[in-house]
C-alpha cells in the first residue's frame, strides 16, 4: 500500500553508519527522547527510550522544552544576517517565517527540531554523533499524518494515544543511526 507519496524516497535511505563505539549504552533504540507539540504548546506526545536523569516533573519539562524552542526560533530569525526585514524581538513567529533552526549539539546529546506548516513541532534527542536527522523527522511526521490525523478515533488537540503510531514509531527509531 502506498502511504508515503512525495517523500517515499526519503524513507528508504538511512543515514550512513555511525563509527563503532558511539551507540554503546543505547542498546536497542537509537534515540533518547521524542516530543511532539502542537501550535498551542500542548504536548501531544512524549516518548522516552533512554533517559537516565530527570530533573523536573513532566508538565514543567514540557513547558521548558516548548519555551526553549519558541525562544530559539525567534532568536535565530532575528540574528539572521541574510534576511532583510527585522521585526521586534518579542513578536511570535508564524511557522514559515524566518530562517528555520534544525538542531543543536552538546557533548552529551544532539537535539533535532522540525516544524510543520501546521505548527506541529517535532523534537528528537539523540546521541551526539548522529548525522542530520531532517529526513528522519520528516518520516516521523508522515507517520503522524497516517496514523494519528487519519485515525477516526483521534480528537485533534488532545494527547496521542494510538497503538499503531507508537508501534511504528518504535520500529522506526530502532533503525536510526
Amino acid at each position: 500500500m502506498q502511504f508515503f507519496g512525495g517523500s517515499a524516497a526519503a524513507e528508504a535511505s538511512p543515514a550512513p553508519a555511525a563509527p563503532p563505539g558511539t551507540a554503546t549504552g543505547l542498546a536497542g533504540n537509537n534515540a533518547n527522547v521524542l516530543y511532539v507539540f502542537n501550535r498551542n504548546g500542548v504536548c501531544l506526545l512524549y516518548r522516552e527510550w533512554h533517559r537516565p536523569l530527570r530533573t523536573l516533573d513532566a508538565a514543567q519539562d514540557h513547558k521548558l522544552m516548548f519555551g526553549l524552542l519558541f525562544s530559539l526560533r525567534s532568536f535565530t530569525a532575528k540574528m539572521d544576517p541574510t534576511s532583510v526585514e527585522k521585526g521586534n524581538l518579542g513578536v511570535p513567529l508564524l511557522p514559515g517565517q524566518g530562517c528555520s533552526f534544525h538542531s543543536f549539539r552538546t557533548n552529551t546529546y544532539k537535539l533535532s527540531f522540525m516544524e510543520s506548516p501546521s505548527g506541529i513541532k517535532l523534537i528528537l534527542v539523540t546521541h551526539p554523533k548522529t548525522s542530520d536527522l531532517r529526513e528522519a523527522l520528516r518520516y516521523i511526521y508522515n507517520l503522524y499524518v497516517e496514523y494519528v490525523v487519519k485515525n477516526p478515533l483521534y480528537v485533534p488537540g488532545t494527547p496521542i494515544k494510538s497503538e499503531l503510531f507508537n508501534t511504528n514509531l518504535d520500529q522506526y527509531v530502532k533503525t536510526l543511526i
Binding site: Y147, P152, S162, E163
Partner: protein, 176 residues
C-alpha cells in the same frame, strides 16, 4: 477513462460522515445514525455494481454473484480480493478481509494507567466508545455490499464483525 481522486480525500469524507451522523444529526439515536449511513452505502453499492457488471453476462446463481463481489468488485474498490469466503450452503456467507483498507488506521487507545483502584469504568467506557465508532464506520461497507447484491437481484442483510483489527468479516444473509 476513469477519473481519480486522492485516497486521503476519501478517508477524510468517510471520517466526517460518520462523525457528523453520530454526533450532530442523530446524537441521541445511534441506531438511526447507523441505518442512515448504511442507506448511503446502499445507494453507492447499487451504482457501483451497475458500472462493474456492464460487460458481464447474468449470474447463474447466488454463489456466482457472491464470488463476483469477493473478486472483481472488491478489487475494483480496494485493490485486493476477499481473503476468505465461507458458506453454510443455506444462504449465509461470511466474507473475510484480513486487512480491510478503511480500518487500517483505526487504533484503539492502550489502557491508560490509572492510579485509583476503582477506575475500571473509564477505560471500559473508552473502549466501548471506540468499538462503537468503529462499528459505525463499518455500516458504510455493509451498505455497499447490500446495495451491490440487491442490484444483482439478491435481497439480503449484511452485518460486520470486528473481532481482530484490521481483519474484518462481513456476514451476508440472503432472504429466501
Amino acid at each position: 477513462m476513469g477519473r481519480e481522486v486522492a485516497e486521503s480525500c476519501l478517508d477524510g469524507v468517510m471520517i466526517e460522515m460518520v462523525s457528523a451522523y453520530c454526533t450532530r444529526f442523530y446524537a441521541t439515536k445511534p441506531e438511526l445514525a447507523a441505518r442512515r449511513i448504511e442507506a448511503i452505502g446502499y445507494q453507492v453499492g447499487h451504482q457501483l455494481s451497475e458500472r462493474y457488471t456492464m460487460e458481464r453476462p447474468r449470474f447463474t446463481d447466488h454463489l456466482e454473484a457472491i464470488k463476483f463481489i469477493c473478486k472483481d468488485f472488491w478489487s475494483e474498490l480496494f485493490k485486493k480480493q476477499i481473503d476468505n469466503l465461507k458458506t453454510n450452503h443455506r444462504g449465509t456467507f461470511v466474507l473475510q478481509d484480513n486487512h480491510f483498507r478503511w480500518l487500517t488506521r483505526i487504533s484503539i487507545d492502550p489502557t491508560p494507567e490509572s492510579t485509583e483502584a476503582s477506575s475500571n469504568d473509564p477505560s471500559v467506557t473508552a473502549e466501548n466508545k471506540a468499538s462503537q465508532t468503529t462499528n459505525m464506520h463499518l455500516c458504510f461497507p455493509c451498505g455497499i455490499i447490500r446495495g451491490a447484491l440487491s442490484n444483482l437481484g439478491i435481497p439480503c442483510a449484511v452485518t460486520a464483525d470486528i473481532s481482530n483489527l484490521p481483519a474484518c468479516s462481513f456476514v451476508v444473509r440472503i432472504k429466501a
